[in-house]
Symmetry: C2
């Protein structure tokens, strides 16, 4: 069905805007817009304003660069967290992922991406200098590199490692190994090889 003839410019405009979102085509966009038209004015206005306010009022934490409603984010402001450990992640979504494990009680540092020459992203585009500053000025004992296990992630890890290796700080990275619940048969050989090389005492695998 060709749905490019809309009875209203306002409708067409809203459909155009929705179809710019990732994974939403023109048909889905029309469905969403017609759904909004069936709602009351109040909730739809609220929806529109929530988008505008999101983009206009959201801040990035001055310390860790995570998104925040305040100058300093809730995690950096939380006195009960371990202020001597920094977990370095690529983006705000990864902060949420690590938080959801409930296994980490330190602070974060959001790089805002990883080094990727193909996409024109070099170290200067990322929050690496500010990480080095934090390590120099704050009382940091460990930096955990929690980036993707891709070539770009490894490159970024190595770049940060070189920047920090002469400071008095322990640098660690996420354990690479067989995923919990995976069958060996379906584990790729590189992961399996690394998990063999980095094998751990059986006792320490008994924790959850």
């Amino acid at each position: 069905m060709n749905i490019d003839k809309y009875p209203s410019k306002l409708l067409e405009n809203a459909v155009n805007e929705f179809s710019k979102l990732p994974g939403i085509g023109r048909k889905s966009a029309l469905r969403l817009v017609l759904h909004l038209l069936r709602q009351d004015v109040g909730p739809v206005t609220y929806f529109g304003n929530s988008i505008i306010q999101l983009r206009n009022n959201i801040k990035h934490c001055k310390i860790c660069h995570n998104i925040s409603d305040t100058e300093i984010c809730r995690i950096c402001n939380n006195a009960s967290r371990n202020r001597s450990v920094i977990c370095v992640v690529e983006n705000i979504r990864d902060v949420m992922s690590v938080e959801n494990t409930q296994q980490f009680n330190g602070l974060y540092h959001v790089l805002g991406g990883i080094i990727s020459p193909m996409d024109g992203i070099g170290p200067s585009e990322l929050e690496i200098e500010s990480l080095v500053n934090r390590v120099e000025k704050e009382d940091i004992t460990e930096v955990i590199l929690a980036l993707s296990t891709t070539m770009e992630g490894d490159t970024t890890n190595f770049y940060i490692y070189r920047k920090l290796k002469d400071k008095e700080v322990k640098i660690s990275t996420l354990a690479r190994g067989v995923s919990v619940g995976d069958e060996l048969e379906y584990t790729d050989e590189i992961t399996l090889g690394r998990s063999l090389a980095n094998r751990i005492p059986y006792e320490s695998s008994m924790g959850k």
Copy 2:
């Protein structure tokens, strides 16, 4: 992944709003919101405003009740259309569907739904009186009932038929039959039975 802990109220609010849309869960909503956060302020503000303006400024045509940017819609205002034929449809989406066939050059009448006692929708909730008024006051020669071929659609068709049968107007309905491209083997027996009963001269099937 439990993604209910958001680093920002603004973010959480936007995710809540997006996840109210049909077919969009909390994970997809988060993905859309993070996408918006990566865009510039201008386009995102424009997007939000397009939603607010859509709902606040859109009008319903005073004649056919299709949505419109003006008091009278583009179709009703179009002097080159056949003003003596009215195609009765359930909603604005169906107007677009019929328009896209490019086989109809008359006017429309949007009921705003179909009679559905289960959902508490009776004839008085629909634009049926205004249809009868149009037939009485305008110079209408034919009313085409183009509703869904469901029990609710049939009920609505019959209700409108009874309201109009004493007026001087031809009442027709969409042909029911085998879909173009369908194989007989997979056509349900009711459709096949009806298309047999309402068989048409071979010559008239040769048009496109």
